[in-house]
């Protein structure tokens, strides 16, 4: 089973915290879509299994028309074996989700929406330069449901400027009323070079302190679980049977193919990532040059990836798989490195799994670093 990711590097405006590769200039739109389709043809042999998930991410894929999306999907169908019940997700900006557009999406078999809500507070949205309003977000969810979408996810960000703990609680509670199937919630990162980062450097915004941020996360987890969500990954919550199958593939190290500028692919042997810039990507695709960088994974890389992605999931590291794939020595290294964290309650062993506790999640980078192996 495999997944395909399509990167649409366009956004109508740039959010101030964003360091993803996306452009607000749409002039290369047509050229890019042509090249995406060319890349799909070029990569047809990358996957020799059935494709179980397709994910349009970005950027903001909902800036594409349903016709454009359909062209891409048909190219995929022509080159890969897509399962009948494949999960096909579109990341969307609330402003773009009109009834008409949603109807068209249904027709081209898009069956899952990931809506970038981020917050239900207009002041907070403005502070990070999101283009939509809180009202638009609520409407988008309603209209989507009314148009037959029953697998809807929303994104929220905690620790935004203008957001205190009380306000975050409100955001979580509002999300709970929406009757959605999935929620992703990330702590705000001040990425170097972004406008928001510059504001922080100038002292114009102050990041929330660690204590508040931890309290926000705790509230999130508690509330979601109380409302029937399963906390299945550090930042992801799902109603039963509604885990994101596509993202789970990343964590379970299934094969995935990334199409488009900056997209990543993995096939168990190597990882590769496409060139970042739209112009260069298109030029190389058109001229038949190599458009990606590739890294062949050593056993050590594979072990480190395994630790890293497994600990993202709340199930944690499956010892049985660890032993089978990496042998007794690495298993022992892992156990030994985990010991101190088990003792201080940041890691726990459940059955044959080593997982982060909620406390451990907060310092998970440090824990992963300990569990990693570098020779």
């Amino acid at each position: 089973m495999a997944g395909i990711y399509i990167h649409i590097p366009f956004c109508k405006s740039k959010c101030s915290y964003c360091d993803f590769y996306s452009k607000t200039d749409f002039s290369q739109r047509k050229e890019l879509i042509d090249c995406l389709i060319k890349e799909i043809h070029l990569q047809k042999n990358y996957i020799d299994e059935n494709v179980e998930t397709i994910y349009f991410g970005g950027g903001t894929p909902s800036v594409l028309s349903s016709d454009e999306l359909e062209r891409i999907l048909s190219a995929l169908e022509a080159n890969f074996l897509i399962e009948e019940d494949a999960e096909i997700t579109l990341e969307a900006n609330p402003d773009d989700l009109t009834a008409e557009y949603l109807n068209a999406l249904k027709l081209i078999k898009i069956n899952r929406l990931s809506i970038g809500v981020q917050s239900f507070d207009n002041k907070q949205l403005k502070a990070i330069n999101r283009r939509h309003s809180s009202e638009a977000a609520l409407t988008a969810v309603e209209v989507s449901k009314n148009n037959g979408f029953n697998n809807i996810s929303i994104d929220l960000i905690f620790g935004l400027p203008e957001q205190d703990l009380a306000s975050w609680k409100e955001q979580v509670n509002k999300a709970m009323y929406l009757d959605i199937q999935h929620l992703s919630a990330y702590g705000l990162m001040y990425e170097e070079g972004t406008p928001l980062w510059r504001k922080m450097k100038k002292g114009e915004v102050v990041p929330v302190d660690d204590e508040t941020s931890i309290a926000m996360y705790h509230y999130l987890v508690k509330t979601c679980v109380e409302n029937g969500f399963e906390h299945y990954e550090i930042s992801n919550f799902a109603k039963p049977d509604f885990r994101s199958r596509h993202n789970s593939a990343y964590w379970q190290e299934k094969t995935y193919l990334g199409i488009g500028p900056s997209a990543h692919s993995y096939n168990g042997i190597s990882r590769q990532w496409n060139i970042l810039s739209i112009s260069q990507y298109c030029r190389k695709i058109n001229q038949g040059e190599t458009f990606y960088e590739k890294e062949i994974l050593s056993l050590q890389d594979k072990y480190n990836d395994f630790v890293m992605v497994s600990l993202r999931t709340m199930d944690g590291i499956n010892f049985e798989i660890l032993q089978k794939r990496f042998g007794e020595k690495m298993y022992n290294h892992c156990l030994k490195s985990a010991e101190a964290f088990i003792n201080n309650g940041k890691l726990a062993i459940d059955k044959n799994f080593l997982r982060l506790t909620i406390d451990g999640v907060m310092t998970s980078d440090q824990i992963i670093v300990e569990l990693m192996y570098v020779s």
């Binding site: 702590g187 990334g258 993995y266 890294e295 890293m308 992605v309 101190a340 310092t363 980078d365």
Partner: protein, 595 residues
């Protein structure tokens, strides 16, 4: 012999010795176009990268003057005070010296100290004003300074530029005309002074010598007078850009000898080479042995590397006899070595060479000087390590080494420099005007105070317009205390230092602050304390790390995050676990970087 000229190039640091040497090599066609890179004599990678000379370098040039062929033996010397012994050795092999003065800077502290060494050996001094091409050159002013210092005539000073080649022909001419040819009897018993030695991994030890009297032939059976060891002169030769073998060399010449010597300890620089069959009456008076000035513990990060570290230090010693080391152990750091260095730059260089030439990952502890401890029982001992200090109650007096320092600066900075020296327990001995608005301050100061960020602060308060030179000047009793640093209540012996009582509280406070900056946050709070005996004099806390979770792995970008975390992991591997606290390498030198 009348056609030989032996000379060295001496100057304050960075005044352009090596660059001027490049021009001499170029003008005499010793080095041809393709080999001619900047500072060609600075052959070590480290020298090239840092743009400083660490070791003296000898090279022979041929020069035609008025129809006659001359052999010019040049020795380029380092300018940094840590390596001043290199200068004194080179001087012993020469009859003349080019004294270079940077025309933009004028006379500086090492100009004077190196000049005195040359005068002591009766060398003919040829003063050269260098960097004349630079706009900010002040030829009139600097000329006055040189005339005053040397008592020479202004016309004797050659104006030159190592950059443009200005004055180079004049310098070559002056070397022939003004530097005396060596004297000595080629038929007398052999007497050759070893002035340097280098290690070559294929050929073993190569000793550089100057023949004072007699003649040496390839294959001769020779004796090194001080070590009393006998060798066959397997190969003899002169030092051009490469070594050029010769059948015979006689009085006045500078050359090299390879005789199957494996370790640097067998060759004492300053020793005399003579023939076994027809020995000379007495050895040439050699050099004072170079003594290390500062000591620091050098520990492998990984305890398993202890033996490798020993091997690496031994190898370094082959090339650098001034490095000393003896095993020691530390509660915090395990097994390592107490190394003796000539100064802070030397220490830095050794640490860097260990890292890059031997891939040895080490922790260097706070350096200290050597102390003489008198116990109440009347014993006297030399202590190189604060941890090696006897119990306070058993100590009668501690004596610490003093230096006599010369600082040359513009009058504008005198006030601030005096404040700095006072803070370093300096006593002003005298104050002389060098010329115009430039002053030489002579201070007696504890050597231990120079080790702790003296040089950097001198440079910054004088905006670079102060130079500094020193020599040892005896021991004096001092009120010293041991300052301990505790991490989570555990004393870390590797962070202890011996300091003057009056400075203890402020230093303790600053060290705690610095360590707080340098030790990364960990899973728990870390208390940092400074203590004298059982009395805590300063305290800081590093709060536990509460949150370090990065955002999602965006779009399956696993590689980037893995690499980021692997990098952190490698950084951690370079840290030392002390109790439960992980301490980065650089924290052990924190005390040197207090601001």
């Amino acid at each position: 012999m009348k056609k030989i000229r032996n000379f060295c190039i001496i100057a304050h640091i960075d005044h352009g010795k090596s660059t001027l040497a490049d021009r001499l090599l170029e003008f005499t066609e010793t080095v041809s176009g393709k080999d001619l890179q900047a500072q060609v004599l600075d052959s070590m990678d480290l020298e090239r990268e840092r743009g400083i000379t660490i070791k003296s370098h000898a090279i022979q040039m041929n020069y035609k003057y008025e129809g006659e062929e001359y052999i010019l033996n040049l020795i380029d010397t380092p300018g940094h005070v840590d390596f001043s012994y290199e200068v004194s050795r080179s001087i012993a092999a020469c009859e003349g010296a080019l004294l270079i003065v940077d025309a933009t800077q004028g006379i500086q502290a090492q100009t004077i100290s190196n000049l005195y060494m040359a005068i002591e050996h009766d060398l003919e001094i040829i003063p050269i004003m260098n960097k004349m091409d630079v706009d900010s050159a002040m030829p009139e002013e600097v000329e006055d300074q040189i005339v005053e210092l040397l008592g020479c005539k202004p016309e004797e000073i050659i104006r030159a530029s190592g950059k443009t080649g200005m004055g180079i022909n004049e310098i070559l001419e002056a070397i022939v005309k003004r530097v005396p040819a060596p004297v000595g009897d080629p038929n007398a018993p052999l007497q050759a002074l070893i002035f340097d030695s280098v290690f070559n991994s294929f050929r073993g030890i190569i000793a550089y010598f100057k023949i004072v009297n007699g003649t040496i032939n390839k294959g001769d059976l020779v004796k090194f007078v001080a070590t009393e060891k006998e060798y066959n002169a397997d190969e003899l030769g002169v030092l051009q850009l490469d070594m050029v073998p010769q059948e015979t060399l006689s009085a006045g010449n500078v050359g090299y000898i390879i005789s199957g010597i494996k370790t640097s300890k067998e060759v004492k620089v300053g020793d005399t080479i003579t023939h076994v069959k027809r020995p000379c009456d007495k050895a040439i008076s050699g050099f004072e042995e170079v003594k290390p000035m500062v000591f620091a513990g050098v520990y492998p990060i990984d305890a398993e590397d202890f033996e490798d570290l020993r091997t690496s230090l031994e190898k370094l010693q082959l090339n650098d006899a001034s490095l000393t080391f003896e095993p020691e152990s530390s509660v915090a750091l395990g097994f390592g070595f107490r190394c003796g260095f000539l100064g802070m730059l030397h220490m830095e260089i050794i640490q860097e060479r260990l890292d890059r030439e031997f891939d040895m990952n080490v922790i260097t502890t706070v350096p200290n000087v050597s102390y003489i401890v008198h116990t109440k029982k009347g014993e006297v001992m030399e202590v190189h390590n604060p941890a090696g200090l006897p119990d306070i109650m058993a100590i009668d007096v501690i004596e610490e080494p003093y230096i006599r320092a010369s600082i040359i600066t513009a009058t504008d900075y005198i006030g601030q420099i005096m404040t700095l020296c006072l803070g370093k327990r300096g006593e002003l001995v005298k104050q002389d005007y060098v010329s115009g608005n430039r002053v030489e301050l002579i201070y007696d100061m504890p050597l231990g105070e120079i080790v702790f960020d003296f040089y950097d602060r001198l440079k910054s308060i004088s905006k670079g317009y102060a130079s500094f030179d020193y020599h040892m000047n005896g021991f004096r009793p001092s009120k010293l205390v041991k300052l301990d640093i505790l991490l989570n209540g555990e004393s870390v012996d590797a962070l202890s230092s011996l300091i003057h009582f009056d400075n203890a509280v402020s230093l303790g406070r600053r060290m705690c602050e610095k360590l707080k900056e340098l030790i990364p946050r960990q899973q728990f709070d870390i208390a940092i304390q400074a203590a004298i005996g059982s009395k805590i004099i300063a305290r800081e806390t590093i709060k536990a790390l509460r949150k370090d979770v990065t955002a999602k792995c965006y779009g399956g970008d696993v590689s980037r995050k893995r690499k980021l975390l692997e990098k952190q992991k490698k950084g951690k591997k370079r840290m030392k676990q002390i109790g439960s606290v992980e301490v980065p390498q650089k924290a052990f030198l924190a005390v040197l970087k207090l601001d």
